[in-house]
Symmetry: C2
Subunit: 258 residues, 2 copies
């Protein structure tokens, strides 16, 4: 199994087909009865367009209180709670501090993406509501995060890296990989003010990008095509760059009998 190139990665042909593929390969049935009919389960949630710059600035500052996942959620939901009220006012933002450091510091999924996924799927609605927008925005955001030199956003009053900040491309949505590559390139340790400022700026950059996507979706102008369907391509959930972790010894996933 060889690496998937960026070109291979951009294979999507439309939101509908992506949804169909997901339904076919990974899940069984979207239409079984809803077990818990609860108040906030009305989709999509009401949304008013936000200012990406203001949101990013809030996310940067909130990082120093509740880290990456909580900060992305707070930067968007707290504005919407003020503008709109419910269901945003009842969302337990601070609980998402747990997403920090790839969940409780284990270095798995970057919390800024984990939090952004929650935001996109509340606002646009989950696949159970018949909309695939939240899913596609999440996938686009993970692709953008993996393939962009970050951080992009410059806070008004940075707490560190005031003159210059090293940017790195993670090639992965994993905290451990993203943080590790930046630490290696910059030479700054995990507990340094510079690394903390870097992760706060990453969080702000993700919040900025997410609001751009949500605003486009609100205007009916979100038509990005990136869909990563490893289930269909590789027969297993995965990133697109197997060899970065696996080296020359990549296990072959069992395939369905034809």
């Amino acid at each position: 199994m060889k690496d998937v190139t960026r070109r291979d990665f951009l294979i999507g042909t439309g939101l509908f087909s992506a949804g169909m593929l997901l339904s076919k390969v990974f899940q069984i049935d979207l239409a079984t009865p809803v077990q818990a009919k609860m108040k906030a389960q009305k989709w999509p949630w009401p949304y008013e367009k936000l200012d990406p710059e203001k949101t990013a600035e809030m996310a940067y500052n909130e990082w120093y209180r509740i880290f990456c996942g909580g900060a992305v959620i707070s930067s968007i939901f707290s504005q919407l709670a003020e503008k709109i009220g419910e269901p945003y006012a009842s969302f337990p933002i601070d609980a998402f501090i747990i997403q920090e450091g790839g969940l409780a510091g284990w270095g798995t999924l970057c919390g800024s993406l984990n939090g952004a996924a929650v935001v996109a799927n509340c606002i646009c609605g989950p696949r159970t509501s018949g909309s695939h927008a939240g899913h596609i925005i999440t996938t686009n955001l993970m692709d953008w995060y993996s393939n962009t030199s970050l951080p992009i956003y410059k806070p008004k009053n940075p707490k560190a890296n005031k003159d210059h900040i090293v940017q790195t491309m993670s090639n992965s949505p994993l905290c451990h990989i993203s943080v590790g590559k930046w630490m290696k390139a910059s030479g700054f340790a995990l507990a340094s003010p510079e690394r903390k400022d870097r992760c706060a700026r990453i969080t702000a950059s993700v919040a900025y990008k997410l609001v751009e996507m949500l605003n486009a979706w609100k205007d009916g102008k979100f038509h990005e095509e990136v869909k990563w369907s490893p289930a269909g391509m590789f027969g297993i959930t995965a990133q697109q760059n197997c060899a970065e972790c696996h080296g020359s010894n990549i296990p072959e996933a069992p395939k369905m009998k034809k």
Copy 2:
């Protein structure tokens, strides 16, 4: 850098010290002003003990509707919404379908753990509330998941693997690794009914274990000692088994100057 053994992993000496270490190494300040004071931000959430067996059965069935992350959350929050009402009734369960397959199928963090982390940190409260219980339960659950032959839970009416199911130890909280090792050991493909049943049983097993932990916490009897502090040990967010991905070439993280 060599692998960390299970013995090294069990190094904790108390909840308080774990919280202190986290505060010292990874974050700056727990006490900065709360930017968004919202309704559901009162901690801990009211909790009544649940039946692990009933919860697991619900989680198993919900997997076929909203997958791993959503199903763990639904199995617990829908019962508490019925018993207690708010704030559970306003929680947007279905949005967490996005956690499936390691977030939108990318194979990162197993959704059952991602969902369980949300549950534990809502019920016990986030670290901003002064409680570390939700964080410690999350870490314990990730450790248990990584070091246990799963799935354990047997549903009343399994949809597949009716006579026998292969159990595997993931040594990782990552979807891709957990699913991949099971697929290799069982020979079943991702889209097979057997693999789906396996992930539904994993989800049920996690929900069962989480309720056991929450019930012990409610009784003041949760005193497990597992704390994984890679920030302190390795100087980077990480799992404990570096060599499984890195092989013989493990990058050294920059350390703080003494």
